[in-house]
Symmetry: C2
Subunit: 562 residues, 2 copies
C-alpha cells in the first residue's frame, strides 16, 4: 500500500504515524513544502515571548528528539520529502507531481491513497503597505524568527496588531512581555469574535489594564512609512487616526490551502472554502482523504459546516484518516469550536454556541452568568472566574459556555464541552459529581452554579437583565431603581452608576424606601444577593423586579470608584 501525504506539520505526520502502526508494511511518503516538520505552530507566541527558549523545543518529541526527516525514517519508518512542493494531483493516474525546491527537479509520486493535510495560510488583507519591511504574520517558524530579530532592534517599541482574534491576542501578550507598546486594531465591535460581546469586553478591559490599547470598530487603511524611514513601516493609518508602529503583525485569520484540491476537482465547502470531507475524512474522491486546517468540519450543536483550524482537531482527524484508510471504520463527529487562550492573567475559554450565534440562528435561549471564585473562596489561591452559559429554553440543553478571568476557566470549559457533546441539560450539569476539594474548586463548582442560575431562570424564579440593556437605559436616563444590596464597605469601594444602596440584610426593614410603581433592577457583586433581594421584593408585593446578570463582577464598563 502506497500512501502519499501532503503536509508535514500536524495532521499529516499524525496520519502517517498511525498508518505505519496499523500497517507496518505500508510505504508512506510525506511531502512538505517547508523545511520544518511537525512543529508546534500554536507555540510560536511563546517562542516570541521567551517562555519557549529554543526553536527546537517546538519541534521535539516530549523525550527531546527533534522530529526531522531522519527521525521519521528511523523511528517511524516514514519517508519524508521536505523542501518539496506538491504541484498537481492526477486523480485518474493516482499520482502527485512534486518539485524539489532546492533543485527545481520535478517528479511523479504514485499512490494508492492520498492524504491532503495542506493546512491553512494567514489571510493578508488588501492594504497598501502590507509588503513593507517589519510587517509580519505569525504562522510559521520563519515568521517568529523575523519578529524575534526585529525585537532585538532598539526601535521595536510600538507594535500594531491588525486583528484581535486568538493569534492577535496571544501575540499581544508575547510582545508586551518583550517590552513593546501594543495597539490592537479590530474592525469588529469586539476582539475575540468567538465570544459574546460582554465577555470579550471583560478581556479588553484586562488587556487595557496591562497597557494595551484596544481599538475595536476600527479599520486599518494603510501601513505607511514616513520620509527618511527607508521604506520601513513607521505608522498605520486607520479610520480613527494614525498609530505609530515600528512593527505590524497581521493577524486577520487563516484561510485553508485548497488550491491543489480545487485544481484536482475535489469538492470544496461553499460556506467555509475548505475541503469537503465526510465523517470518515474522505474527500469527494474515495482514494483521497483530508485532515487538519485545510478541511471543513461539522458543528456538533447545529450540524452546520464550519471552519475551526486547531492543532487538537488536526491530530484527531489525522488518526481518523489513518484508521479508515487502513480498512477500519471510524467517524470523526465534528467540533464544538472549543478554544482557550491565555491573555496575561486571564484564561479565556469557550465552547459551543455563543448567545449571539444561537440567537442569529433563531434559537430560543436562556443565558446565565456566574461569576465567583474558582476555588473555595477562603483559599489563598482562589481567583475570580466569570462564566456565561447558553441554554436551550425549551429543553434545558446546554448549548455553549464561555469563561474568562484569572480563575481556571479551561477546566470548566472542558466539562462543559463534554456535557454539550453528550446532550446534557442544565439539570444534568447541576448534578454532575465534579471533583471537590478547597484547593481545586468551590463546594458548588462554577459550572454547577451557572447551571443552577439557568434553572432558576427557566423556572421563572429569576428575571435577568443584561448589563448592556441596563447601560443603554442608564444612558437614556430611563426611570428605574438600580438597587445595590451589597454591604456598606463594598459600596464604599466601588459602585455602578446611579445605584441606590440598601444592604440585603436591611432590605426587609427598609421596603418603604422603594417605589412600588417602578421597575427595580437588583444586583450585588455576583448577583446571588441580588437574586435574594429580588425574591424578598417579590414576596413583599413588588411587581417588576429583575436581577442584573453577572452583577458588578461582570459589568463590562467602567466602575465608579472612591
Amino acid at each position: 500500500m502506497r500512501v502519499v501525504i501532503i503536509g508535514g506539520v500536524a495532521a499529516g505526520p499524525k496520519a502517517a504515524s498511525k498508518i505505519i502502526r496499523l500497517r507496518p508494511d505500508a510505504q508512506v511518503t510525506i511531502v512538505e513544502k517547508g523545511i520544518f516538520l511537525s512543529y508546534a505552530g500554536c507555540g510560536l507566541p511563546y517562542y516570541i515571548s521567551g517562555d519557549v527558549r529554543e526553536r527546537n523545543h517546538l519541534m521535539e518529541t516530549p523525550a527531546g528528539v527533534v522530529r526531522d526527516a531522519v527521525f521519521f525514517q528511523k523511528t517511524k519508518n516514514l519517508k519524508v520529502l521536505n523542501g518539496t512542493e506538491a504541484l498537481q494531483i492526477d486523480r485518474a493516474g493516482k499520482r502527485v507531481r512534486v518539485k524539489t525546491l532546492a533543485s527545481g527537479e520535478e517528479s511523479w509520486l504514485p499512490y494508492d491513497n492520498l492524504v491532503l493535510a495542506t493546512g491553512a495560510a494567514p489571510v493578508i488583507p488588501p492594504l497598501p503597505g502590507v509588503d513593507r519591511k517589519n510587517v509580519f504574520t505569525l504562522h510559521g517558524v520563519h515568521d517568529a524568527e523575523g519578529i524575534k530579530a526585529m525585537l532585538a532592534e532598539p526601535r521595536a517599541e510600538d507594535v500594531v496588531i491588525v486583528g484581535g482574534g486568538l493569534i492577535g491576542v496571544e501575540t499581544t501578550e508575547a510582545l508586551v512581555t518583550r517590552g513593546c507598546r501594543v495597539t490592537v486594531v479590530e474592525m469588529l465591535p469586539q476582539i475575540l469574535n468567538l465570544l459574546d460581546w460582554e465577555i470579550a469586553r471583560l478581556v479588553e478591559l484586562h488587556m487595557e489594564s496591562k497597557g494595551v490599547r484596544v481599538m475595536t470598530g476600527t479599520k486599518a487603511l494603510a501601513i505607511e512609512s514616513r520620509a527618511g524611514a527607508g521604506g520601513a513601516v513607521t505608522h498605520v493609518r486607520t479610520d480613527k487616526g494614525e498609530l505609530p508602529a515600528s512593527m505590524v503583525i497581521l493577524a486577520i485569520g487563516v484561510r485553508p490551502n485548497v488550491a491543489l484540491a480545487r485544481d484536482a476537482g475535489l469538492a470544496i465547502g461553499a460556506t467555509t472554502g475548505a475541503i469537503k470531507v465526510d465523517d470518515r475524512m474522505r474527500t469527494s474522491d474515495p482514494a483521497i482523504y483530508a485532515a487538519g486546517d485545510c478541511v471543513e468540519s461539522c458543528d456538533r450543536v447545529t450540524g452546520r459546516p464550519c471552519f475551526v483550524p486547531l492543532g487538537s482537531t488536526a491530530n484527531k482527524q489525522g488518526r481518523t484518516v489513518a484508521v479508515n484508510l487502513c480498512g477500519g471504520d471510524e467517524a470523526f463527529p465534528g467540533v464544538l469550536g472549543t478554544a482557550v487562550c491565555k491573555v496575561f492573567d486571564f484564561c479565556v475559554a469557550r465552547t459551543g454556541l455563543t448567545e449571539r450565534v444561537a440567537r442569529s440562528l433563531g434559537m430560543d435561549v436562556v443565558t446565565a452568568m456566574a461569576p465567583g471564585p474558582d476555588k473555595a473562596h477562603y483559599m489563598p489561591q482562589a481567583r475570580p472566574l466569570l462564566m456565561k452559559i447558553v441554554v436551550d429554553a425549551k429543553t434545558g440543553r446546554l448549548l455553549g459556555a464561555q469563561a474568562t478571568g484569572p480563575g481556571d476557566g479551561s477546566k470548566r470549559i472542558d466539562a462543559a464541552a463534554t456535557a454539550i457533546t453528550a446532550g446534557l441539560t442544565v439539570q444534568d450539569v447541576a448534578n454532575l459529581d465534579l471533583a471537590y476539594a478547597p484547593p481545586y474548586a468551590p463546594a458548588m463548582d462554577n459550572l454547577i452554579t451557572a447551571a443552577n442560575v439557568a434553572r432558576n431562570k427557566c423556572a421563572g424564579l429569576m428575571v435577568g437583565v443584561s448589563a448592556q440593556d441596563v447601560k443603554a437605559r442608564l444612558d437614556r436616563n430611563e426611570d428605574f431603581v438600580f438597587l445595590d444590596v451589597r454591604s456598606p464597605k463594598e459600596y464604599a469601594e466601588v459602585r455602578l452608576p446611579r445605584s441606590v444602596h440598601i444592604p440585603l440584610g436591611a432590605l426587609r426593614g427598609r421596603l418603604a424606601e422603594l417605589p412600588r410603581d417602578k421597575e427595580i433592577v437588583a444586583f450585588c457583586q455576583v448577583s446571588l444577593r441580588g437574586y435574594e433581594a429580588a425574591l424578598v421584593l417579590k414576596a413583599a408585593g413588588f411587581k417588576d423586579v429583575k436581577v442584573l446578570d453577572g452583577g458588578i463582577a461582570m459589568w463590562p464598563y467602567e466602575l465608579e470608584r472612591e
Copy 2:
C-alpha cells in the same frame, strides 16, 4: 409551612436558604448542636497549615460576612437555634424535641416537614489510649483549634496519623508544612483506598520524597504514654513496632449520624448504615427529607447504594430537598465517588470505578495508563500527569478514571466524570473537543490519549502488562526480555531492573539481538515508543510481544539510578 432542619453545617443551611427562596412565607428553623454554622469542614487542613489564616474565613460568605445566627435571620429570614440538640423525632405528632445546651431547657418544635442533615462523625477506633491528651480527630473547628494549640508547643514534632484516607493525607501535608515529622499508619495494603494500588503507590512515593513515613499494612495497637509524660501520648504501638508521637490524629473515616433517624424508625441502608432516601431525598417517612453526610447515595455506574460524604454532594442534595419539599419534582441522580486531594506537589483525583472495584463486581474491563505532560511539553509550566482509565471491555464505556502527579488532574477528572455520567465510550471521549492551547493542554489532551490507548487495547493492537505483574515475574526470576527502547541518554539516567536496551530508532536494524522464542515486554518513559517497538517486533514476526502499562513514568517501585 413550618420546616425544621436538623443540622447547620452544609446540607441544612443550603436546603434552608433554597426553601426560603422558593417559599418566602415558610417558617424555617435550623437546629444545630454546635456553635458554629455553615463552616467549611473541608477547609480545616488548610486552617491547620496556615493557608487559611483566620478561623472566621471558614465561616464567611465570599463577600466576607460571617454566617452566624444573626446573618441567617437578617439576610435569609431563617431562624437558627445553635447550641441546641435535637433529642427525638415524634413522627406521629410531627414535632422534634430539642434541648438548649447552655440552659438544659427542653421544648418541642412542630413541623410540617422535617429535614435531617445530621452529618457524620469521625470513627474512633477501639484502641487503648484513644482518650489520651493530644489525640485528635479532624472533624470540627474545635478539633482544628486543638491541633493548632498543640503545634504551638515545642514538642509537637512527631505525629502519627492513623488512617491514610483523604483526611489523613490532607492533614499529613498540613502538619509537614508546620514542621512536624509525620508517620501515616494504614491497615490496608495502600493509602487512599479509593485509588487502585499502583496509583496510590505513586502517591506514597511522593509523600516519602517529602519526608513522610508511610506504613501500609500496619495495625495501630495502642496509643501509649511513657512514665513521666503525665499521661500525654509519647508513642503509638503498632504490629510493626513502636512509633514516637507527641500527637496522634485519628483519621479512620466517618460514620453517618443516624441515631435520631433510627430511633424514629426511619429506614437505614443495610450496607452503608446511612439514612435511606429515594431519589427525591425523601426518607421512608414522606414528611421527612434527609441530605448530606448522613444519607446513603446511589452509585451512578453500578446502581448500588454507597456512602460518599462530601460537601459538594451535600449542597446538591440540600437543593434537591428544598425543591421537592416546596412542591417541585427533582431527582438527585447519585454520585460517582469523584474526589480530588492535594498531596504536596501532587494533585490526586479519581471518579467512577477503580479497576479493583470493577473486577470485584465481576466486570470485564480494559485499563489504560497514560502518563504525559499536562500542557504542551515545550511550555515551562508543563508538569507530568499520570492517568489511568477503566473501560468496559464489551461496550467501550468509560467506567472510571484516576489521575495523579504534579500535573492538573482535577480538570481531566471533571471531564471524565461528565463523560461517565453521560455514558460516553472511549471512542466518544477520544473525539471530545476539549480546549487546547499550549499553556493549558497538550494538543492531544491527556484524557484523550488515555482513551486512545484503551481503544488500541480493545482493538487488539496493544497487549499491556501491568507493572505489578512484571515486578512479580522479575522477583520470581522468570525468563522474558524486558526491552527498554528509550534513548541512550535516558537509559543512562534511570533504568528498570534487568532491562535490555535498544533505542527505538535502532530497533529495526538490531532485531537479530532479540530472541524469537521468548516473551518480550517493551517499554519507554510513557510507553508510546514501547508500543511502537512492540508493533515493529510483531511486524517482524515476533509472536509474544507486550507493552509495560504506563512505562517508567508510572512504575510504582524503586528505579535504578546512576
